[in-house]
Symmetry: C2
Subunit: 337 residues, 2 copies
């Protein structure tokens, strides 16, 4: 597997990305190759600073960078030589098998979708994130690629995320639920109700019904389907909520026993490590014709390494082939709504 | 203030509701009155069981109950003698000033909206819930009354929730944000972008911009505006997330030190008490012509008592009068989109 890594994207780029790429070599095989995408001289300088030979990686020259806050489509048009554009271009020309970026998520999704195209039969790509919960890993799709979902999109997210959960976590028949505001069939928007019918009528899916926010962490499901807007809010809310709970605990402990408050730090640390979704190393952009991983903007070297590892597993397990096969078995056409 | 309480709605009705009504008398004044709505003989039996004179409360007879899972509109049509329907009817005929129910939320919203009508100038009612966060109380509107929002609805939620936060928590100029998937102006759905323009251009609002899920708990804002679907997910996710974190901490502590795990229970309990949104006693249905409080289905006596107290404050502070005044100052018409 050849993987192109956007060296310039992310809050800690390029240093942490390059450091992550170096660490990532440990999880790859002899036939695998990492290619860095970005400004050649900047990358070389960083390699020198890391006391690493400058020819450690092939480099695809990309003098421009798309900022984290730039408009995706507009910036891609204005900056064809940006690291994200060059990276996606390389994948579309089969110069690499996989791409990875911690840069502007919207630009990354758009570049992959436009350049790599979608898998046969797939209508819209969706970002799948794995939330490590007390009840086991839960795959959420979509968390931000698509904020104008149609039933066919959500339906295909269920199929793709189901294949993903099965292959990545060995769950034979992943339990799939739709995020909703109640469990009763009559609840929810039109989009939700129409999606429900598609999932319910597909004998190849283990559809378990509507889910509410609180069900996510209770081990009730393996896959949760939702609109990109809702999934994005869920993801960021979970982060913020966990931080707040630990802050509240620390404050409470400080009023009771300062030594215990100090000791609790190590407890919090080990819990964060266990339930931190960064551990899973980024989010798969399911449905594009290739392997594309999007990392959190705040990713450091460890996350990049984990993402490279996830990328390798996704590629080796030929998950895309299985997605195409699963989608081909459905009765609803790509153009249907 | 005369308040009608739906004695039959909720997971623990009627016993916990009636017990809550009894406790609620402590937070009311001499001129206030609680009226129970429900099956007279059932309510009397419960009062006897609680060793309370059966003439403690006036009772409005309502032999039917709308189940928690029934379709709101349909059940209201089929059961005009249900406790929710009778309660809303009483409010619409000015037999009471306020209503309170822990029953079917959808039916309660529909009954209040249809019977009590909306305040002058208000387009659609929205449910406002107060989340006690580490950074102070945050009012979220809407959390489930309206899952087909238009910009004018969200705009009016901002106005109404702003007045609410100011009056209830003494925040002079509440910081109002819109829940979105990024902070940049270009992010989000059409609905979000149009709402932003309305809020930004209103000199009477302290609009602070888009918020992401993680900002909710950081003390960045006093009011968060979102579609009912998103708000509902946020609310239930927060509950589930907090539960999971404490479970995870307990499990981690058990492997380290069982005595400490036991001791930690009291820490968890005091944190839950501090950050439990039930403490605020239910959610206000803002925008209806009257005072309507909707309680969580799982409400027990203490929550009902707190809700009665919140109801009294809302009524005494004449918040509805202030909402009408604030709405009348806006330039966007009720019918505008």
């Amino acid at each position: 597997m050849r993987i192109a890594i956007d060296a310039m994207g992310g809050d800690y780029a390029p240093s942490e990305i390059i450091a992550g790429a170096l660490q990532g070599r440990d999880v790859l095989g002899q036939d695998d190759e990492i290619v860095l995408v970005g400004d050649e001289s900047v990358i070389r300088d960083h390699l020198v600073a890391l006391k690493t030979p400058t020819d450690t990686f092939r480099i695809f020259q990309a003098p421009d960078v798309i900022g984290m806050n730039e408009s995706p489509i507009e910036s891609l048009r204005r900056k064809p030589k940006s690291s994200i554009a060059v990276m996606a271009h390389a994948a579309s020309h089969r110069q690499v098998d996989a791409v990875l970026s911690a840069g502007n998520t919207g630009a990354c999704v758009a570049a992959c979708q436009i350049r790599m195209r979608t898998l046969e039969g797939v209508s819209r790509p969706g970002i799948a994130v794995v939330l490590p919960t007390y009840g086991g890993p839960v795959t959420i799709c979509d968390v931000g690629a698509n904020i104008a979902c149609k039933p066919i999109h959500l339906y295909q997210y269920a199929i793709m995320a189901g294949v993903y959960a099965r292959e990545m976590f060995g769950i034979e028949s992943p339990r799939i639920g739709i995020m909703n505001i109640g469990e009763e069939d009559a609840k929810g928007t039109d989009l939700i109700k129409k999606t429900r019918l598609l999932l319910k009528n597909d004998p190849n899916l283990n559809y378990i019904g509507y889910l509410e926010g609180r069900d996510l962490f209770e081990g009730k499901c393996d896959v949760v389907i939702c609109e990109g807007f809702v999934g994005n809010v869920i993801l960021k809310l979970s982060e913020g909520m966990a931080n707040m709970v630990f802050k509240a605990i620390k404050a409470e402990l400080m009023t009771r026993n300062k030594l215990l408050a100090l000791w609790f730090k190590s407890v919090a640390k080990s819990i964060f490590k266990k339930y931190d979704y960064h551990e899973y190393g980024g989010a798969l952009l399911l449905g594009v014709n290739g392997t594309a991983i999007i990392c959190h903007g705040s990713s450091k070297a460890r996350t990049i390494k984990n993402a490279i590892s996830a990328c390798k597993r996704f590629y080796d397990k030929k998950i895309n082939t299985q997605i195409v096969s699963a989608i081909s078995k459905t009765l609803v056409s790509n153009n249907g709504e």
